[in-house]
């Protein structure tokens, strides 16, 4: 009927694969199940072309079909496996790339950290210099403030002094004018007192004169009496 190769090729081409999920199953699947479930083995075996053959030839062809179906399904399963392995390999290279990226990022971070640490050191030094400067400035400022305070109080005192001085001058002026009046009053009083004294003296003289006059009158009267 056919020569060997043609027979095998013929049946090889007739094999149909199906039930891809089962073929791709990650679990173990028995070969006969794969052959029955994932190929058209049973249909080919029972096909009219096979049934028409006589017993010996038929069993021979069925064997060929069985081999073909088994081989095809196994090849497919091997292909599935290869695909997964390729995927794993791909993932592996991706992971390697990501790892080296991560390492690069870590190194960049470390470099940044190194830079920041140096910066911190520099800033720390600057801070200590500034602290000293600040301290000096603070002292200066304090001195300045003390000076300003002193100056302020000095000014205040000066103003007060000026005020007092002015008041004093006013008082002096006042005193002066008052003094004039006092002197005048004094002089007046003195003159008055003197005048009083004179009046008193004159009064006394008058009294004395009056008494003398009285005496003289009495004497006069006595003498007149005596004369009588």
């Amino acid at each position: 009927m056919y020569d060997d190769k043609a027979l095998f090729d013929y049946w090889h081409d007739r094999v149909e694969l199906r039930n891809w999920d089962l073929m791709a199953s990650p679990d173990h699947v028995q070969t006969h199940i794969l052959r029955h479930e994932c190929t058209n083995y049973d249909e080919l075996r029972k096909s009219s072309a096979v049934r028409q053959l006589d017993g010996l030839e038929r069993s021979r062809v069925i064997t060929v079909i069985k081999y073909q179906c088994t081989a095809r399904v196994l090849q497919n399963r091997a292909r599935q496996l290869r695909e997964r392995v390729d995927q794993i390999e791909h993932t592996y290279y991706e992971q390697e790339q990501q790892k080296s990226k991560l390492l690069n990022i870590i190194r960049a971070l470390q470099e940044k950290l190194f830079g920041k640490d140096n910066q911190i050191d520099t800033l720390k030094k600057q801070i200590s210099v500034l602290k000293v400067e600040n301290e000096a400035l603070r002292t200066d400022a304090e001195n300045g403030r003390a000076e300003a305070e002193l100056r302020e109080s000095l000014e205040r005192l000066q103003k007060e002094y000026e005020k007092v001085q002015k008041r004093r001058q006013e008082l002096v002026q006042n005193n002066k004018s008052l003094g004039g009046r006092v002197a005048h009053t004094k002089r007046f009083r003195k003159e008055r007192d003197e005048a009083r004294d004179i009046v008193e003296q004159q009064k006394q003289q008058i009294d004395i004169l009056k008494k003398e006059n009285q005496y003289l009158q009495q004497e006069n009267e006595k003498l007149q009496q005596a004369l009588k």
């Binding site: 790892k99 470099e111 190194f114």
Partner: protein, 131 residues
């Protein structure tokens, strides 16, 4: 060293492509006039010194980073080890797949062979019957 060489070395060390990027990345170089070769020399020296300082710092990190840095190295080493294991396993799987393919192919060949033998045997048998 020629200016061109100097420049490419500086760019390589600084990981930049032009003067503008260089100056943006390193404020120390802001005052350098890059039209002069001497500026490039200064830049190269500074970068080399910084690189060495960084390397030393990385090898002898300050106390606060020591543990973290050695952990990074340790984890990275372990990752490499398990990665090479994975790689090895992948190679194993690949050869297993290859042999599986071969087995399937051989199976076909054997089947053909078997069939041939069967046929021969049958012919011999039939011949014997005829004889």
């Amino acid at each position: 060293m020629k200016l061109k060489e100097l420049r490419s070395k500086v760019y390589e060390l600084a990981k930049v492509d032009n003067t503008k990027q260089l100056k943006a990345k390193y404020t120390d170089f802001k005052h350098l006039d890059m039209r002069f070769k001497v500026s490039w020399k200064t830049a190269l020296q500074t970068l080399e010194k910084q690189g060495n300082d960084f390397k030393n710092w990385l090898e002898n990190p300050p106390e606060e980073y020591k543990e973290m840095f050695s952990e990074i190295q340790e984890v990275s080493k372990k990752y490499d080890q398990s990665a090479s294991k994975t790689k090895h396993l992948i190679q194993n799987l690949q050869s297993i797949t290859d042999s599986l393919d071969e087995t399937a192919a051989e199976l076909q060949g054997e089947a053909a062979q078997l069939d041939k033998q069967n046929k021969l045997a049958r012919e011999v048998n039939e011949q014997a019957k005829l004889n």
